[in-house]
Amino acid sequence: MYLLRMVLKNAFRHRLRTTLTVAGLAVAVLSFGLLRTVVDAWYAGAASASNARLITRNSISLVFPQPRSYQARIRSVEGVAEVAYSNWFGGIYKDPKNFFAQFAVSDNYLNLYPEFVLPDDQRLAWQRDRMGALVGRQLADQFGFKIGDPLALRGTIYGGTWEFVVRGIFDGVDDTRVTRQMLFHWDYLNETLRKGAGPRPDQVGVYISVIDHPDDAATISRRIDAVFRNSLAETLTETEQAFQLGFVAMSDQIIAAIRVISNVVILIILAVTANTMAMSARERTAEYATLKALGFGPGFLALLIVGESLAICAIGGGLGLALTGPAAEGFRQAAGNVLPIFNVSNETVALQAASALAVGVLAAIVPAIQTARVRIVDGLRAIV
């Protein structure tokens, strides 16, 4: 208790300096947490993707379609339980800034995605309405969509104005699921295309297959691709997670830069805190020499210095941690469509706390060693 009182009193002897250091620590810990959460958010889609689902796309590029007829052939491959398909629609809702994903999907699409929960009556209503659309909860909340609302999209890939009616709102089974997308009937798209509006009909963007055993994903992928070898549209099949990571890989360098910056922020605050502790220890050279003269050993002095550093870092780090939640929520709202899942993970919170703790210990090491080495007679003569 005596030591703790001395530590806390020492920590606030230079109020302005300590306050600035605490503020710096809070900002650093907060920034570290937010930057790590940005990285996590970037990988959120891939993290929540399933290894029990395979994505089959045109082997040349995702932008090239595949014939609709592939569904039955993929379904016949050993190990495949069910096959659905979807097309990226790329429509504009009122204004290009209102970006959200829209997919034209097969009727069985939601059977493959148990992580999306849709009440039975809404599913039935959607299946009965060729112009029906399903919207995710996050999307509905953002634009105020309600069941029965008309919804019009201006096509970019598929020209013209496309009319829909909201027939259902689906939720994620947990808050890691992105529900900022819209689904509608692939048949509606295809029938319209058959009337001569835009690209060729009977084409599919990707096939989604549910497989019986995720461990067999590689084998089944090879089997699927073997079926279409030497065809006009050869395929490339991979797990949904690998497919998602392929998108993330496009921004690998940005992610790497964000990771580096998050670590640099901690290194900078380590230098600032070490400077604060070095100044404090230097100013108290005579006091520490007096304690040594009285018989206190270097260990006691090290505890005083490390304790003071830890106290400052605990306050600054705690403040940073407390601010991370509200700041992340603000960031999520500001980022909108870009990072729909922006949750601060427990791992990030633990790393923030560990960083503050590490800064507290590391910043005090050099001053503690220097203080332990100072000769008592030199320390007593010290004038600061």
Binding site: K9, T290, G295
Partner: protein, 233 residues
Amino acid sequence: MAQPLIEIRNLRKAYRRGEQIVPVLTDISLDIATGDFTALMGPSGSGKSTLLNLIAGIDKPDGGTLAVGGLDITQLSEGQLAGWRAAHIGFVFQFYNLMPVLTAFENVELPLLLTGLSRSQRRDRTAMTLDMLGLSDRMDHYPNELSGGQQQRVAIARAIVSDPTLIVADEPTGDLDRRSAAEVLSMLQRLNQEIGKTIVMVTHDANAARAARAIIHLDKGELGGVPELQTQL
């Protein structure tokens, strides 16, 4: 003469200043008896503070022996010296050297943390010591709330609270006005006469030295003749 508490034989100490070696103490031999109040006097650079530091075990000699209570402290390691100082030495510094973040009470209690006393025993002894030095009404004050004389009294209380064998005082009146200096000297005399504490005090003030029973003169690192015995006031 009573049994010597401090026995110094052929003590040498030099400092290195760049390539140059500056001798500070040259072949010092002297005894200080238990219960003595000795003043070390001399001009600046005479080596009096260095001798006091060696006696207090906060500096190490280059040669010779220095025994306190029969123990040659020149042979002790840093860790052993720290323990020895905690048990046997009470320090009074010119600029008090109190911990500014601690109250008078906490400053006086500080050396007792190194003893095996319980919290209540520490508090009782601290309160008694402060009372003895007339500081009962100042125990909750921080050093910056006390006058120089009061701070030095707190420092004296800190020096005696653990009942050390020896009190070393380095210019204890050097930063005080005449009245406060007289109070502090009178207090040291009382400790010496009433409790029998052995005190070694460095001073360059002849008036302060008169409070001691014996004066040892140092000049250029050498003793200036035999100790001069004084009649106590």
